[in-house]
Symmetry: C2
Subunit: 336 residues, 2 copies
DNA sequence: CACGCGAATGTTAACGTTAACATTCGCCGT
DNA sequence: ACGGCGAATGTTAACGTTAACATTCGCGTG
């Protein structure tokens, strides 16, 4: 069935049926109290009769705003944390009765300019760009001045507000935690080398160690899976001085722990291990993995705020949202 | 800064600056080829100068359609499979250059009528309702006739298209698989009793067993976690006749497997185990869990199709999307 | 009973765009 | 030079809503 113009009843139709002016019908539609109860009834009846649906287009044409924020994404929502950020965003939007307009970009058109161009013709009052890694035009992109724009990115941008999880803070917290427990030989086990998250975690780890004058050992890298962690764990068994391992995600941490235990070492008594993402709660029997949990919900919520209330200043803000270290049972005092 | 009416340049402004009519400006904006190249240049320059942004409101007011589908959700996107369904939906939308308008409902207003009422005043040509479990007004809900509506639900609805994963099919596939491998004593281990997914999986399992005249043993229930699975696994050790276990999710399956192994049984040689959701790939070292994987992406994509091309017939369709059984290494031929 | 006054309702215009139709322009052939 | 013709551009009206202003209604008062 058609949904073009002329389909569906307009306020004028309702008004005619109820024998009032369109303005009165409009007042009823908007819950104004300046309408006599019997008139209101007549109008409501007419609306029901015609199954009237207000025209968003006409309303926002008059109002000049949409009460909606755009979100451009590329890649999959599966990526760790992503769904929570989306959730934080929609939750914040809900609170303020905003809708979210979601635009998915194919990977081959996943750049900021294209996303922005597409979003500009949609009913949004602001936009959030959340593309994979670092889009090719990150440096050259200029946000449209008619549309407040926020990029979810760890890097900061000359003209555009940016926000993301604090990857460096993650490394710093973890190293601090280990140090507080008396550890001095703290290894890092990365995920895929090319991954941005991985790179910044490794950098943060190295910095934190150097700042304390601790020994930096060239890290090993897995592919984010538990099996790759297991292999690496088997090699770490020979690294006698190591007492603490910082794994770049939880699966690798789990793999390492299983390997160490299979080799006769005790976790955490002999070696402490910590993961990142806190993604495996309830999934591994009898294993309570200490992990660093990002505050993805907060990232989403703040992105929403930035998009709806763009800060006035000259320099665009660059916000890093800290997470929390969740202490469970895989970190202990360093052995003597 | 304001974004009300009067903010931002309109086609009229562009036209004035470029010394053409608004119609010509409109033609340029829409890429019509009936414009002389030099004129086009002038107009484009004016657009850039004024950082013109087309008014979605005005366009769709004329066009009478929005090229967008609404999605109402309540609860969290974290729930297994949900994000994939959303992803399938947005992917399908992308292919057809549709946007998705996302509306999150607070849990206390999560009913179909409220969702539909809110969505009706947003810029959408159709809506998909994806609320938790079974909303209170499921039976009484009448979809607005001005807005094609699809409900993601395992139950079917008298006036409204519905679609969901085929929970029964999941049980049937799993039982079939076990039977083919020669198993006859097939236990079911559920998650939380009240969960709808759990109930329908259990029902399907029982039906499938009865149809074959197989022995039905009252199932045990965990709370979806691996630890609860472990406990149950320890009890199942004493169930000498049992050779196959159908766990209602992967975490429980993993817990069971660990318990059985700790008790000296071999999986799959002595007992076969299968999970549901296929959610733990790469997460458990040296464990390749056979599992049933729902086709969530397809559910999302079909929901989109139903919303954009509502079928004409009298009876609304009720679509169950089958998944696939992923054979890995936790199911073997039944022991003699 | 006319007057006044606030409450209820009506009228007009405008938001920005584009389809449909109307006009003008530039150029070719004779 | 002139008619003719297609290409380029312009004019008008309409999409549905609501703010602002205008009018009418009903009722109590002097």
């Amino acid at each position: 069935m058609a949904h073009g113009p002329g389909t569906g009843a307009s306020l004028a139709d309702v008004a005619k049926l109820a024998k009032v002016s369109t303005q009165t019908a409009s007042r009823v539609a908007n819950g104004s109290d300046a309408v006599r109860p019997d008139t209101r009834e007549r109008v409501l009846a007419a609306m029901a009769e015609l199954s009237y649906r207000p025209s968003f287009a006409a309303r926002s044409l008059r109002a000049g705003s949409y009460h909606s924020i755009g979100l451009s994404m590329s890649g999959n929502m599966e990526a760790t944390g992503r769904r929570f950020q989306v959730e934080g965003l929609t939750a914040a939007a809900t609170r303020r009765r905003y809708a979210i307009t979601l635009l998915q970009l194919d990977d081959d058109e996943a750049n900021l300019s294209e996303a922005s161009r597409r979003m500009a013709s949609l009913p949004v009052d602001g936009q959030i760009l959340y593309l994979g890694a670092t889009p090719p035009d990150f440096a050259t992109f200029e946000p449209p001045q008619a549309l407040p724009t926020v990029i979810i990115s760890t890097q900061h941008h000359p003209y555009c507000a940016t926000i993301s999880n604090d990857q460096t803070g993650c490394s710093v917290s973890i190293v601090n935690h280990f140090v507080q427990k008396g550890h001095r030989e703290i290894r890092f086990v990365g995920g895929r080398r090319e991954s941005f998250a991985n790179v910044s975690r490794q950098k943060g780890w190295e910095q934190a160690l150097r700042m304390r004058g601790l020994h930096v050992v060239e890290p090993m890298h897995g592919d984010w899976t538990a099996d790759s962690g297991y292999e690496i764990g088997m090699q770490l068994v020979n690294d006698k001085s190591c007492t603490a391992i910082y794994a770049s995600n939880d699966a690798i941490a789990v793999g390492i722990i299983y390997a160490l235990r299979d080799a006769g070492l005790r976790v955490p008594q002999d070696i402490s291990v910590i993961g990142v993402d806190d993604s495996l709660v309830g999934v591994i029997p009898h294993l309570e993995l200490s992990s660093y949990r990002f505050n993805d919900t907060q990232v989403g919520a703040l992105a929403f705020d930035l998009a709806t209330n763009p800060p006035e200043g000259k320099k665009p803000p660059h916000i890093l949202v800290p997470g929390t270290l969740v202490e469970r049972s895989t970190v202990a005092q360093a052995p003597r």
